[in-house]
């Protein structure tokens, strides 16, 4: 049975890692959300939704982002949310928690020594957190289930 998977990442390296996961998820229904204005061509997925951009310096902008995430979750009702980071992914995971949708945080490949701040927050919220490094997973008490490359 085809599953609906909502995939979220910020532009750049996080998004490239997300695309590598999407390629490996086969023919399930993939919805992509990010702060790009349109979906980059290399990313699989049948639908694309924009999340308003924000970062640590403009933290008040998190509210429009959260609102957008709740709207996206309501519209698509995905079976699973997957994020490879960073801030927009964190907001979507929080929104998923609010709505009772299962969400997985895949910490970036670049975090080879310890979990990212966002990953730690998701862990504190009781979300599923994966590290792409076995030693990090062991030290931080999260899971290692593989890596994107």
């Amino acid at each position: 049975m085809s599953k609906k998977i909502l995939m979220v990442a910020s532009p750049g390296g996080h998004f490239v890692q997300l695309s590598l996961l999407a390629e490996g998820l086969g023919c399930h229904d993939i919805i992509v959300a990010s702060t790009y204005s349109i979906k980059p061509g290399f990313m699989p997925g049948s639908h694309y939704e924009n999340i308003p951009d924000f970062n640590r310096d403009s933290f008040y902008k998190v509210f429009p982002a959260l609102w957008a995430c709740l709207r996206i979750l309501r519209k698509y009702q995905p079976d699973l949310v997957v994020s490879t980071g960073a801030a927009p992914g964190l907001v979507m995971v929080v929104a998923a928690k609010i709505k009772g949708v299962r969400a997985v945080w895949v910490d970036s490949l670049a975090n080879s020594k310890k979990l990212s701040l966002s990953g730690t927050l998701v862990k504190r919220l009781g979300g599923i957190v994966l590290s792409q490094w076995e030693n990090v997973a062991q030290e931080e008490g999260v899971q290692y289930k593989g890596r994107v490359v």
């Binding site: 599953k3 609906k4 998977i5 750049g12 390296g13 490239v16 890692q17 590598l20 996961l21 390629e23 490996g24 998820l25 086969g26 399930h28 079976d79 699973l80 997957v82 299962r102 997985v104 895949v106 970036s108 490949l109 670049a110 975090n111 080879s112 020594k113 599923i128 994966l130 792409q132 289930k145 593989g146 890596r147 994107v148 490359v149």
Partner: protein
């Protein structure tokens, strides 16, 4: 042929300057995309920017790629199974606002065919041995299949 790229967003004169110096006495040809840099190479074929099709052709023809630590370029080289030497931008040289390129380098530290060069000496050594560098295995790997399998099991 060795293809050098600094990416499309920022210059990276320190890398171009070093490669130019090494190219002077190197046996092979170099082509470089130098971006909005100020330094003008003397021993490389160079342009500030090339078209995507030209870049694609350089990637196909190159024996080795030398690049800033941009994840898109690294993934592309793994996909095409071309050895890549990655030279990160550094915050301490004012080349970037933080050291996330160094983190990216760490992220690929044990991937076959991806060679981190964190300083001039490492880059020099790798370029001298360029014809002995290994090719990446390609993007498909059991670790990714395993991770995707796990994600699907949760859906």
């Amino acid at each position: 042929m060795i293809f050098v790229t600094v990416g499309t967003q920022l210059p990276f004169d320190r890398l171009i300057r070093l490669v130019d110096l090494l190219a002077a006495s190197h046996e092979t040809d170099f082509v470089a995309q130098i971006g909005d840099g100020d330094y003008r190479p003397e021993h490389l074929n160079w342009r500030k920017f090339y078209d995507p099709d030209e870049i694609e052709e350089f990637f196909e023809k190159a024996d080795v790629i030398v690049s800033h630590a941009g994840m898109g370029t690294i993934i592309n080289c793994i996909r095409k199974q071309k050895p890549i030497i990655i030279f990160p931008r550094s915050c301490s040289y004012g080349e970037h606002r933080n050291d996330h390129q160094m983190d990216t380098v760490d992220g690929f530290s044990d991937v076959r065919g991806v060679y981190p060069a964190k300083n001039d000496e490492e880059l020099t050594r790798l370029l001298l041995e360029y014809d002995r560098l290994e090719c990446p295995n390609g993007l498909d790997c059991p670790e990714r299949r395993s991770l995707c399998s796990y994600l699907l099991s949760l859906a």
